[in-house]
Amino acid sequence: MKLGRAVRGSYLSLVFVFLYAPVAVLIVFSFNAAKSRSVWGGFTLEWYRKLFSNAEILSSLRVTLIVALLSAAIATLVATVTCIGLDGLTKRRRAVVMNLTYVPIVNPDLVTGISLMLLFVFLQLPLGFVTLLLAHVAFNIPYAILSILPKMKQLDRHLYEAALDLGAKPSQAIARVILPEIMPGVVTAMILTFTLSIDDFVISYFTSGASVSNLAITIYSMARKSVNPQINALSALMFLTVLVLLLVVNFRSNRDLGKTKEGRTR
């Protein structure tokens, strides 16, 4: 039995080494004084300093953040409104809408990116910031809908009627009853779509054109050109950001869990 546990433990450890070794190497070599991806030449913060004065990276970081924030906000808004409406559709129509919603999720990113590029070309929209934003909104909405819809389904549909019954106009009933009830889903949708937008490379690659590039595209072109430890520094920072974000989300959901468990008392 002891042996079994050792084998199991070491198997999981090996998997984690496999998962984290590349990340660890990236981070360690972001402090490497030598401009090499494998030879250690002493500790330096040079690459971080260069990173923060690299205009190309900073501008693409700005693009990434703006696109992520805007697309997450727009997608979440559209998804919230849509989910509230979806509940009232007949089963058949809802099924049609939901199938359309699944299409971008099921489609390979490659095809989604290409098809959106063709759409923009067809509409004679010059590829740039606007098309990049539209594309991100387009692939974010389905994920936002899938985050909010379960909350909407849990919602007792009589709550809306109860609000009307007590004298609330439909807009007041949405603001005072439906929104507070589905808020957790809306927040999840915001965080998820923001992360997806930051993480996306493939769809951005096809829809941003030559004039605008976000972080992913900049990294891609840098990585193909030559060894550049600034990428390592950037990776380390992004890893840290993701780590913090995930811990926050996780903490939040654990806290919510605790709240319902202990019972809420004021």
Partner: protein, 377 residues
Amino acid sequence: MAEGTRPILELVGVNKSYGDTQVLTDISFPIRSNEFITLLGPSGCGKTTTLRILAGFERPDSGDVLFEGASLLDVPPFKRRLNTVFQRYALFPHLDVFENVAFGLRLRKTPEAEVKARVAAALKTVDLDGYGKRWVDQLSGGQMQRVAIARAIVNGPEILLLDEPLGALDLKMRKEMQIELKDMQKRLGITFVYVTHDQEEALTMSDTVVVMREGVIQQVGSPTDVYNEPRNAFVADFIGESNILPARMEKDFEIAFAGHRFACVDRRRAEADVDVVVRPEDIVLAPPVEGGLNGVVTSVVFKGVHYEMIVECDGTEWMVHSTDQAAEGDRAALVFGPEDIHVMDRSPFSPDAHGILPADLAGRAARASADEGDPDR
């Protein structure tokens, strides 16, 4: 019964269907001021849909809803002067008890002091003093029920709609709440429109009962009316235990069923083929007599107050309630008086006539019920 008082609300020829399913057919009945009226029927009978039309959540396909004589159809729910107590309470989980009750008042921008006073009064009415700061998920079913009622009555509605409000409570709680609700209705002096599938609840609480089945009103009347004078076999069967048999009435005060002729208190009707209902508690078991309705006791179950016995006479099972116990296998005669025989019109719900009518009548009765019968059945 509140005869004579003015109708405050009236349904006129209301029809409603969802897709191909007709859920309400020609529903018309008045609701009088200050009465306790109950829509009673099995699930799927359209009682909840009727209530939702009154509340304004559904719009009838045709027909009208009149409030003090004026049509309500184009008045949205939030402008109607009636409030609803929902089946599963529909309390707002993100608000505490106080804010749930205050919801309607706040929408009307009521001054804070008045909100406090009226919410406190409403909570007092439902016996929930001091529960204002609780969250709704900390309440028991009965307490949630009370909050739902307080939330509705705090707005001073003229009519309160209640959709199976006691359905989720256990039996003991339900009995207590029945009395309390009835009491509250009298104290508040407002009209209650109550939906339930529980016939006992309906009889206990109501001034008027509307019996519905598959979207059609079967009978409107006081609890004693619908119990003692059910209009058809469905009502008789749904309201209370009953023995329902096809019968034939050739002349006034005489009726034939179960292979025998009996004296009765009714005159002959337009149709000779009728149904009769004899309530189990109206039947007395006596020693068998020649020419009487004799049978064999096949089952005896003690029900607490009385015994429920099944007596088989010529292939028909009769249910008899009595405080006197018989033994299984006993032979006995069923005895009941002319006033215990309630005569009803034939309807699609009439029992099968074969072997129960005197031989010469059976054929005709069967034909009659086949003609009237619902082709779906």
